[in-house]
């Protein structure tokens, strides 16, 4: 809907002048006070006042860190994670004698992990830095030494005079002094700021608009006093002192950084805000940080492990305390070989409580291997790689726009596999947002033969009746041929021999047709732009349907060819003479479009000195504004509008009226008052004033514009709903249009039952006429509740019947309009509304505003407590995108605002299918498996330590060499798990798409459910028991080496370690489904690396330790090897049974 996109239009028009003339009011009076203290000495850097003021330069840095604070700040970021804090504390304590192992062995892995994450941060920040450098070094012309010099952006200072040329970005916030236009206007595009592609008009003050050449600036001195830097993009308060007088400045004179000069050769201006003081930089806030559900759950698991850790550490300490206490009893030393008489505090039998307490910390450190130190960093690496795969996927690359899919954040990848509800915008998301003028109804006659995609879908829906010889197809084919023979015009698909090629003059109502197209040609805010190469005239319009109207008018013979501040010129066909004439219309007023008003009008004076109000708007507001004698064709037009809406077309009603001089004068006065008022209800006053004149209109007809469906949308939606994903479409369209679009994109299907909730019932209408607001609200609420109840009972009865009959369930589609939605989201209704909505496989909310979209998103997110994804393309979807768990932006035509706010961006809606069903599914599986496996392998390892402790009277002696312990997570088991996280596929992409039902695995969170997680943990626990007890049973006591030597502490450790490495890596080999050479390399490589390291000692260990190992490695004995095999095979067996 156009109104959605027209928020905050700044098309000031004539009344901007009125603003200048107005006296200092309200806020202007505050200049110089608190919050309004900025003083800018224009073009006067030597002024003592200017020297004193030290405003920031124009250097901009968007980096998170600087060279100086990188280390401390990024370290701080790192240690905000609980696990990292734990490891840091452990590392610190490990320097004390409490530590069961040497300090470096715990410090090194921590440093590696922290270092990798910091390096990642650093690289990301470096990229930002490069962008900053590029931005800071752009060139701008600055007035210094009486002429304009090229300077870098960053050297710009407050008070500098600058010249900005066409299509350049403004380097800072600039007060417009003059432009290439006489009257000092210029056009700017603010796409980077708010995503709106339309041009906005800015005005110089009259007193400065004559400054046009370098010489005139020689003497130019002025002082600007204005507000302090703030983030409000839509207001500015200031005053310009020039020639001894003060002139008020407003947002109309302010050119914002990062917006672009358009349609204007050049402008001159004074810099008022630089660098970080500019409004756009003040606005730069971090987008809301989102975390995936899996990660949140993972935190819980970490807490479980922490508690396990504490429990086993306390158990150990208690036993240790008891054992230690017994060492001295009655003056006798029990374990005399420990010298209990001459002990340190850690083993002192005389102070067993203290010893046990201190031992608790030792144990915490020792069993710390339960907490996987490398988990976070591995997950981050994996996610970044997954994002690269998403970015590189050629099946999600749009050749037309040269845009690949892009993961703008990497921490939601697995969330893509768990989407339960999709909330989609319609315009630009499901549809192309390239409008085509297809039909119109003028004076009660329907013109235009084209068939829309929705109509074709409707025909298909009504059965495959349309045989090739069908009349409609015939017509279509006929026109298709005709179209081919002519040059096709973008935005125009209107075929009717009665109108085209000037034939309309022979129509029964040529005057009405003339008026109709005149309204289309005049009533808009577009600007003609001449393409220099082709000489064609393009239109810079606020919305594509407006452009479609202008093109339609041109094709019929009303060519809009110029606009000035106060006039619009047409090159039009006069039906009486049959000749083309140029006519100029004096533009008096523009009554802007807004989503509340749903209409737009202009007041013009034509050559005949007639005052005309030309108006176009939505049928809901227009019909009630018609005069009694202007309703001549009302019923036919209504029928046509209904028909068009059914065909999925957007309709607007076109009307006009003639104004009397007197009437206009008196109204203008009121309107001006309203416009210049600076009170809070300014907008309401303006609307009210506008409302007064937009009455007694005479109906001319209606237009119908087709918003084409994007490629592949129906197929994609079908697949997604097969995957069990519920789809909500939130649109501003009329209910009929929305329903038809719903059918066209197979959101609604023939076999679905529709439940409609609406307030368009006669009794509500009647109440509305009475105007009693409370009564309306009450009645509406009741009506909504009743409708919801009915819907629920329908669904329940359908469920029961399907249960008894065991037939396939009847599917429901819910359609609700904006007003009803407002009531449905009220506290006492929302619950039953969601009960209803959740039972429907698709929901269409029509006539909803951007704010409602965000609200619905939040309610859906909170109501279902499952993952929601919203997808949209425009600035109006930003709220929705940020509110949802995942925001997907369509990087289409409507600017970058949605993409900026999104987590993922795709070029077309249909890529969503692959993004979710393939990448989402894979990423979910991978991350879930990976985390489970991580816990498994660490529990396996950690518990072997515990079992060993139990055999060593809990003294805190680790079973393994320090370095083996620290390298366990870093080297011997890390790569396979990363390979799992990056490459594993349960089924190929083709099968993922073929059987969308696979996706429900993620929605129901099967792979990361508590039974699964605990199952894996239990698996780890069992593995540790098997490994520990088998190795000890097998190896101790008996002769182990050829010369009869037995196994000692070190060999047992090495063997157990070997078993653990084998077991966890083989477990990995069993769990993954997809073996490429990468998996083979990593899994068998890790084992081989361990074997290599035990045999050839490549690492810089403590030299003595190696030598101890030497013999155990050089003379491998059979039992060990056999036992290894036995163990991992048992492992496999166990896994199978589990």
């Amino acid at each position: 809907m156009p109104e959605e996109r027209r928020r905050g239009i700044l098309f000031s028009k004539l009344y901007s002048f009125a603003c200048f003339l107005s006296k200092f009011e309200d806020k202007h009076a505050q200049i110089g006070r608190r919050g309004y203290s900025r003083v800018v000495y224009c073009n006067d850097p030597g002024n003592p006042g200017a020297v004193q003021l030290k405003y920031r330069g124009n250097f901009v840095s968007t980096t998170k860190y600087t060279a100086v604070n990188f280390i401390p700040k990024s370290l701080f970021e790192q240690f905000r994670r609980v696990a990292n804090i734990y490891f840091l504390v452990v590392a610190c304590v490990s320097f004390s004698p409490l530590a069961p192992y040497s300090a470096p062995s715990v410090l090194v892995p921590l440093l590696v992990v922290i270092g990798v994450t910091m390096a990642k941060e650093g690289v990301e920040d470096w990229r930002r830095k490069k962008q900053d450098i590029e931005a800071n070094n752009q060139k701008v012309r600055v007035y210094r030494d009486y002429t304009f010099h090229e300077t870098k952006w960053k050297k710009l200072r407050v008070g500098d005079l600058v010249k900005v040329c066409k299509d350049e970005y403004f380097p800072a916030d600039i007060i417009l002094l003059s432009s290439s236009y006489e009257d000092g206007i210029c056009y700017v595009e603010t796409m980077n700021l708010d995503g709106e592609t339309n041009l906005k008009l800015k005005h110089a003050l009259e007193v400065t608009s004559h400054l046009h050449d370098e010489n005139s600036f020689r003497q130019f001195r002025a002082v600007i006093k204005c507000e302090d830097p703030n983030e409000n993009l839509f207001s500015f308060v200031g005053a310009l002192s020039y020639d001894g007088k003060e002139y008020p400045l407003s947002i109309k004179q302010l050119l914002l950084r990062d917006s672009k000069l358009k349609n204007t050769e050049y402008i001159y201006g004074v810099v008022v805000f630089t660098g970080h003081d500019t409004k756009v930089m003040q606005n730069a806030t971090d987008p809301p940080s989102k975390r995936s559900k899996i990660e949140k759950k993972m935190d819980k698991i970490i807490y479980i492990l922490f508690s396990t850790l504490i429990v086993i550490a306390s158990v150990g300490s208690v036993f240790f305390g008891i054992e230690t206490k017994k060492d001295i009893s009655g003056g006798k030393y029990r374990r005399w070989y420990l010298r209990p008489d001459d002990s340190t505090v850690f083993y002192d039998p005389k102070r067993p409580f203290l010893a046990a307490f201190l031992h608790f910390f030792t144990a915490l450190m020792l069993y710390g291997y339960l907490i996987p130190i490398s988990l976070y960093v591995s997950i981050e690496i994996v996610k970044v790689l997954q994002s690269i795969f998403i970015n590189q996927d050629q099946d999600m690359y749009d050749e037309e726009t040269n845009r690949p899919a892009r993961a703008r954040t990497s921490n939601l990848n697995e969330e893509l596999g768990q989407v339960y509800t999709i909330l989609s915008d319609k315009t630009g998301t499901l549809t192309c947002n390239s409008m085509e003028f297809v039909k119109c109804s003028i004076a009660g006659t329907d013109y235009g033969h084209g068939t829309t995609e929705v109509e074709r879908a409707l025909m298909r829906r009504r059965g495959a009746l349309s045989e090739p010889g069908d009349a409609v197809n015939d017509v279509q084919r006929h026109h298709g041929d005709a179209m081919d023979s002519r040059r096709s015009i973008r935005g125009f698909n209107f075929r009717d021999e009665r109108i085209m090629n000037g034939q309309w003059v022979n129509d029964p109502h040529p005057d009405i047709i003339q008026k109709f197209f005149r309204v289309l040609a005049i009533c808009h805010t577009a600007i003609p732009v001449v393409n220099k190469e082709s000489g064609e005239i393009l239109f810079e319009a606020e919305s594509p349907d407006e452009a479609a109207f202008i093109i339609a008018a041109r094709e019929v013979g009303f060519e809009f060819n110029g606009r000035t501040q106060a006039s619009i010129s047409l090159h039009e066909l006069d039906y009486e003479t049959g000749k083309k004439v140029d006519r100029v219309y004096e533009l008096l007023q523009v009554l802007e479009f807004s989503s509340a008003r749903k209409r737009m009008s202009v007041v013009v004076r034509n050559v005949e000195n007639q005052l005309l109000l030309l108006c176009k708007g939505a049928d809901s507001v227009m019909f009630e504004r018609l005069s009694q004698d202007g309703r001549l064709f009302e019923s036919q037009t209504r029928d046509h509008i209904k028909k068009y809406a059914e065909a999925g077309l957007r309709t607007l009603v076109i009307a006009y009226r003639e104004l009397g001089e007197e009437e206009y004068k008196s109204w203008e006065e009121k309107f001006r008052m309203a416009k210049t008022s600076v009170t809070a209800d300014h907008d309401a006053l303006v609307d009210e004033a506008a409302d007064k004149i937009e009455r007694n209109l005479i109906l001319l007809g209606a237009t119908a514009v087709e918003d084409k469906l994007q490629k592949g949308v129906p197929e994609c939606i079908k697949k997604l709903s097969q995957a069990g994903i519920k789809i909500w479409v939130l649109t501003g369209d009329k209910m009929e249009t929305a329903v038809n679009i719903g059918y066209a994109c197979s959101l609604l299907r023939q076999d679905m039952k529709q439940i409609t909730i609406t307030l368009d019932s006669p009794d509500i209408d009647a109440l509305e006429k009475q105007g009693d607001k409370e009564a309306i609200a009450k009645a509406s609420l009741e009506s909504i509740m009743k409708q919801i109840r009915e819907g629920i009972s329908q669904i329940n009865s359908a469920k029961q019947s399907s249960n008894s009959a065991k037939e396939s369930t009847l599917l429901f589609g819910l359609i609700i309009d904006g007003k009803s939605l407002d009531f449905s989201l009220k506290k006492n209704v929302v619950k039953s509304f969601f009960e209803l909505a959740m039972n429907c496989s698709s929901v269409i909310c029509c006539r909803s505003s951007p704010k409602q979209k965000a609200r619905v998103t939040r309610f859906v997110k909170e109501g279902t407590s499952k993952t929601t994804l919203s997808i949209g393309d425009g600035a109006n979807d930003v709220g929705m995108l940020q509110e949802a768990d995942i925001g997907v932006g369509i990087s289409g035509v409507e600017g970058m605002q949605a993409v900026m706010a999104s987590d993922y961006s795709v070029a077309q809606f249909r890529f969503l299918e692959r993004l979710l069903l393939v990448h989402g599914h894979w990423c979910y599986r991978r991350i879930a498996m990976m985390i489970c496996y991580f816990f498994y392998k660490n529990i396996t390892f950690g518990f072997t330590l515990f079992w060993f402790e139990a055999q060593a009277s809990f003294s805190g002696q680790p079973a393994y060499n320090d370095w083996y312990m620290s390298f366990y997570n870093v080297f011997f088991t890390s790569l396979p798990v990363i390979a799992l996280g990056v490459f594993d596929q349960d089924v190929s992409a083709r099968l993922c798409l073929e059987y969308p039902i696979l996706y429900s695995e993620g929605v129901e969170n099967i792979l990361f459910s508590w039974p699964r997680i605990l199952g894996w943990m239990f698996n780890g626990f069992i593995s540790s028991i098997i490994i520990f007890f088998s190795t000890t049973k097998l190896m101790t006591n008996q002769a182990f080496r050829r010369d009869g030597q037995v196994v000692d502490y070190e060999i047992l450790g090495v063997t157990m370690y070997t078993c653990v490495v084998w077991a966890v890596n083989c477990q990995m080999a069993i769990s993954i489904n997809y073996f490429t050479w990468i998996q083979h390399l990593f899994i068998w490589g890790s084992i081989a690396f361990w074997a290599f390291q035990t045999r050839f000692k490549p690492m810089l260990h403590d030299i003595i330790q190696i030598k101890r190992l030497e013999d155990s490695g050089n003379t491998p004995t059979l039992p060990r090897q056999l036992k290894d095999r036995l163990l991992h095979l048992r492992e496999r067996l166990m896994h199978r049974e589990l």
């Binding site: 968007t62 970005y169 590189q392 930003v878 900026m900 039902i997 088998s1030 101790t1036 002769a1039 490429t1076």
Partner: protein, 347 residues
């Protein structure tokens, strides 16, 4: 309105696009599109059953072989810590063992129940002795063992670091608590020669215990721990010490004492004359003397064989269970109809 600073400059400098290289290296393409050739093992019932069957059929014979090897080992164990205390001291074992004036010699008779082939390994086995206690394990200094008095950073050896202001070599609790029971074996009339060389690991002798390091100031303190060392023999030849200093992993452990390099016949009675010097009474530890032969698999340990056989037979069992299950609920593999059912459940 939320303008991300990063985003703004990104737009200003142009959106990034992927350069598409149609002719790019095939493998790279496969990699980025996640289409690398891969093997995807699908566990069909037939596969699972045959894997289990295979495992069973391999494991059971291995188990039998290893069990046989273990059974062929002859092991004679004799616990002597209680019997070697004279009746008078039965109630005061600690007093007996601590009193150095009482002679500690003791004789035991071992009966060989089966022919034992040389080499026969002599072990002593201690019980409830925590050589893996953290305080104990750490109480040594490897540098000192290798370099002797030259190295004096021996703080880890406390409290057996110095005595009377002089450093102890070898320092630490492990060395201090050296095991000092001795055994002599007599068969019939003749004494059996016990080879006490090469009982320690060669690497330990060569690389860990210095050839020029002699015991110094050892067991000179007021509190005598375990055995004494001959200060004239360098550490690398003190094999008892080296064996003792390879700390055991578990509280029950055996350590090699020596080898008898003659065969012993069945029903031979061996007289063991031992010196029961070592104090295990204070912590209730047992002392055992073990004579054992060895097989290709090492000492006598049935565990490996039993484990193999039990795993193998459970594999076979599982295999049969699976076969039965498969026969009972046979379903077409990869049938799409299952998907349809699922779908209906969800929608």
């Amino acid at each position: 309105m939320d303008v991300d600073g990063e985003g703004v400059s990104a737009v200003a400098t142009g959106d990034r696009t992927i350069p598409m290289h149609p002719g790019r290296h095939e493998a790279f393409h496969q990699f980025t599109q996640q289409k690398l050739p891969a093997c995807k093992p699908v566990l069909t019932p037939a596969w699972v059953i045959s894997i289990f069957l295979l495992m069973g059929t391999i494991f059971i014979p291995i188990g039998l072989v290893t069990l046989h090897a273990s059974q062929s080992v002859v092991e004679v164990v004799d616990r002597y810590d209680i019997e070697c205390i004279p009746e008078a001291f039965k109630s005061n074992k600690l007093g007996y063992i601590k009193d150095s004036s009482i002679p500690k010699n003791c004789s035991r008779f071992l009966k060989v129940y089966k022919r034992m082939k040389a080499p026969i390994y002599i072990y002593y086995q201690l019980d409830n002795y925590y050589q893996n206690h953290r305080r104990y394990v750490k109480s040594r200094n490897d540098q000192q063992l290798l370099h002797g008095l030259k190295y004096n950073g021996t703080s880890s050896c406390k409290p057996e670091q110095t005595n009377n202001g002089l450093p102890i070599v070898p320092c630490g609790l492990i060395a201090w608590s050296l095991f000092n029971d001795t055994y002599e074996f007599i068969r019939g009339a003749s004494e059996l020669t016990v080879n006490r060389k090469n009982i320690a690991w060669k690497s330990d002798r060569d690389h860990k215990f210095g050839k020029h390091v002699y015991p110094f100031n050892f067991q000179n303190g007021t509190l005598i721990g375990g055995g004494m060392l001959d200060p004239r023999i360098h550490l690398s030849d003190q094999e008892d010490l080296i064996v003792w200093m390879r700390t055991a992993a578990l509280p029950t452990f055996r350590k090699l004492y020596g080898r008898i390099e003659e065969d012993l016949n069945a029903d031979d009675v061996i007289v063991v004359n031992l010196m029961n010097n070592y104090n295990t009474y204070s912590f209730g530890g047992k002392k055992k003397l073990v004579l054992s032969t060895s097989s290709w698999l090492g000492g006598k340990n049935d565990f490996l064989g039993v484990a193999y056989i039990s795993v193998g037979s459970s594999c076979i069992f599982v295999c049969f269970v699976f076969i039965l299950l498969h026969m009972k609920n046979r379903r077409p593999y990869g049938g799409h109809n299952l998907f349809v059912l699922e779908q209906e459940r969800h929608l």
